[in-house]
């Protein structure tokens, strides 16, 4: 008999194959897919994320866990859909127009995925209208914008204005090296975080507000 604890350990230690085998076994044992997500995968990524926050692991080590989770998710996701269970939150993220920096944005996306969010990554150099289109299509709960250049901060402001004009109900959070809380307040975003480690807490807190 496999247990949920083993799956959690496999993800924490980044064992992809084990994660796959265990997920298959646990599903066959009749354990509900949402239990695997809630009690194994998300807690595992929280452990890894906390270790990263405390500088106990490096990003490559964290990504190994993220990939193990992905392996397991591939098996769990169809079951969740079958059962009509949707992820708690849907997020859209992208780097604003004119800006190609994406390492930070990708890390935020990974962290959000680790927290069980359904993340749609629009990539880099994303125009305000592409954000708007994606919002119309996916109806997210939260939208994340990234900008690394002082010269693309105006594009961030324009994007915030454009996505707000859709009138849809979602929160906007922003980030990137030149971005500050003051700037977030100024452009009318709901939140800002200085790093990927705190981006999950930020998202949860603005979504709870």
């Amino acid at each position: 008999m496999s247990n949920i604890e083993d799956l959690r350990t496999a993800v924490i230690s980044g064992k992809r194959k084990d994660a796959k085998v265990l997920t298959t076994a646990l599903l066959e044992q009749g354990i509900a897919p949402e239990r695997l997500l809630e009690d194994a995968l998300i807690p595992a990524m929280t452990v890894v994320g906390d270790k990263f926050k405390r500088n106990e692991v490096f990003v490559p080590e964290m990504l190994v866990s993220a990939r193990a989770m992905k392996e397991s998710m591939k098996l769990i996701e169809p079951k969740l859909i079958e059962a009509g269970i949707k992820p708690k939150y849907k997020a859209i993220i992208g780097t604003v127009e004119g800006d190609l920096h994406d390492i930070g944005k990708n890390l935020v996306a990974t962290m959000w995925k680790g927290a069980g969010f359904d993340v749609i990554d629009l990539g880099v150099n994303v125009t305000p209208s592409a954000f708007v289109d994606a919002i119309e299509t996916h109806e997210p709960d939260i939208v994340g914008l990234s900008a690394l250049l002082t010269t693309t901060m105006p594009a961030m402001r324009e994007t915030v204005a454009a996505v707000k004009a859709t009138g849809k109900n979602f929160k906007i959070v922003i980030g990137g090296a030149p971005v500050t809380q003051t700037y977030a307040d100024e452009v009318g975003a709901d939140g800002y975080s200085p790093d990927a480690a705190s981006a999950v807490d930020l998202a949860k807190s603005v979504l709870a507000a």
């Binding site: 490096f58 080590e61 004119g98 190609l100 390492i103 250049l149 002082t150 010269t151």
Partner: protein, 464 residues
């Protein structure tokens, strides 16, 4: 490999201000001729670059050039280089870039007339090819516009042409965050090397045609991305150190194609390249903290021929506008170094050694570009048969240097870091002997949707 031996093989000869092949500018600065000069870099504050904002943007650059050069003259700087590193729209639309080039060149001539100041301009267009995904590397509007700015700025009198090119970066960012040394070598030494050759075979003729200098490239998007990630404890410093050593193989290609320096400031691999080529190099360190932090603030100056601040926004500080303040700081740094040199070779060497020793034991990324390490890595590179083997050799040498120094107690390294030395060594041991086999393996493993294999002369795999 074009270089099969070192131009500087004695680490004591690898020193700031002096290069075996110096460069003379139009106004008579001799870079690498015994003196280190400041190289000032600057950028715009928070502003969108478009036609309607160009008048304001012009005013920024006019202010930067006139105020900073006035300060240089007041402080009697023996010379100064200005670097105009464009912002992406200024290369995308070369007329924007050329507007600024002309403003800076006029400012330089005016300062020469008014104060007799010897100044010179480096023009660094953006490599915007990656605006399209996957990037089109050998044609298209981004490529054309970039060449146009090189050509026109050279024609107008920008004396040095540089770039931070991005060939191979399609895979490198992922390789970094995944700590994947094999993919790092593929990005830098297979893809990067091929693109560098193609690119510099275009830039060198432009420089020659207009009688200016093809100054060199940097692996900024590779090595400095690794450095920033390491600084934030995202990847191990030992890994970033090995990446730095390998970047030298990629950046070397510009010189193999005919570039002559001064190498561009953000290439922390430059000391290795100086040992190989003997060309002068620009470096940035403590006085570039306005742009990014680094663990080699002093050591970076030890072998520099130009001393740069990398980039600062044109904003008001208490002392004056930021570029003027940084001009002053660079000038004082250079004065001190030049004073040591004019007290004789022993004093200069003493100064250099202080710069080295004050940083080298604290961070492997500093240690790896010390004169001694640079010569050792340079030797590993020139002893290799091709760029692929040179990449492996430089990585091995970097690991050896870190291991030896930490065993001797001359380098601080915790167990979390040193564990990566074994991991990287294992990865190197697993690599095939020839580039051909390596390419074959990698083309099966990497995400070939992220780049255009033809643009890298790489075989397209037929998927059955």
């Amino acid at each position: 490999m074009k270089y099969t031996s070192l131009t500087i093989s004695d680490p004591d000869q690898l020193i700031y201000g002096t290069a075996p092949h110096p460069i003379t500018t139009k106004h008579g600065m001799v870079i690498g001729g015994g003196m280190i000069y400041p190289e000032l870099n600057f950028t715009l504050p928070n502003i969108k670059i478009e036609k309607s904002s160009m008048p304001e943007i012009r005013r920024h650059y006019q202010q930067i050039v006139s105020e900073s050069l006035q300060r240089a003259a007041e402080l009697e700087s023996p010379g100064v280089v200005l670097e105009f590193e464009t912002l992406p729209p200024m290369t995308e639309f070369p007329e924007f870039g050329m507007d600024i080039v002309k403003i800076l060149l006029d400012g330089i001539e005016e300062a020469h007339g008014k104060y007799g100041l010897k100044a010179s301009l480096r023009c660094t267009p953006n490599d915007n090819r990656e605006f399209i995904r996957p990037p089109i590397m050998r044609s298209g509007r981004y490529w054309e516009a970039m060449l146009e700015l090189f050509e026109k700025s050279a024609q107008a009198g920008a004396e040095f042409l540089s770039i931070e090119s991005v060939g191979g970066k399609e895979l490198h960012d992922d390789a970094l965050v995944n700590g994947d040394l094999r993919e790092v070598i593929f990005s830098l030494c297979v893809m990067g090397v091929r693109d560098m050759k193609f690119l510099w075979d275009h830039i060198v003729p432009i420089a020659n045609k207009h009688g200016v200098y093809a100054a060199g490239d940097t692996a900024c998007g590779f090595g400095n991305t690794a450095m920033v990630l390491a600084e934030r404890q995202m990847i191990p410093k030992s890994f970033a150190t090995v990446v730095r050593a390998i970047t030298a193989v990629r950046s070397l290609v510009a010189y193999e194609c005919g570039a002559v320096g001064p190498g561009k400031d953000c290439g922390y691999e430059n000391p290795i390249l100086k040992a190989i080529t003997g060309f002068p190099m620009s470096m940035e360190g403590k006085t570039a903290a306005c742009a990014h932090l680094s663990p080699m603030g002093n050591l970076a100056a030890a072998t520099a021929d130009l001393w740069s601040n990398e980039s600062v926004q044109n904003i008001k500080l208490l002392g004056g506008m930021a570029p003027t303040c940084y001009m002053e700081q660079l000038i004082y740094d250079c004065r001190l170094f030049n004073q040591a040199s004019s007290d004789g070779p022993e004093a200069a060497l003493q100064m250099r050694n202080w710069l080295v020793k004050s940083d080298a034991s604290l961070d492997p990324q500093a240690l790896i570009i010390s004169p001694e390490s640079s010569v050792a890595i340079a030797q590993a590179i020139v002893s290799a048969d091709d760029h692929y083997s040179a990449g492996i050799a430089s990585a091995r040498e970097a690991i050896r240097i870190m291991r030896d120094s930490s065993e001797k107690g001359s380098l601080k390294m915790d167990t979390r870091e040193s564990a990566w030395l074994d991991r990287m060594e294992d990865e190197l041991d697993d690599l095939p002997d020839t580039e051909e086999e390596f390419i074959e393996e990698m083309m099966e493993d990497v995400d070939t949707d992220k780049f255009v294999p033809e643009d890298y002369e790489l075989p397209v795999l037929l998927t059955v």
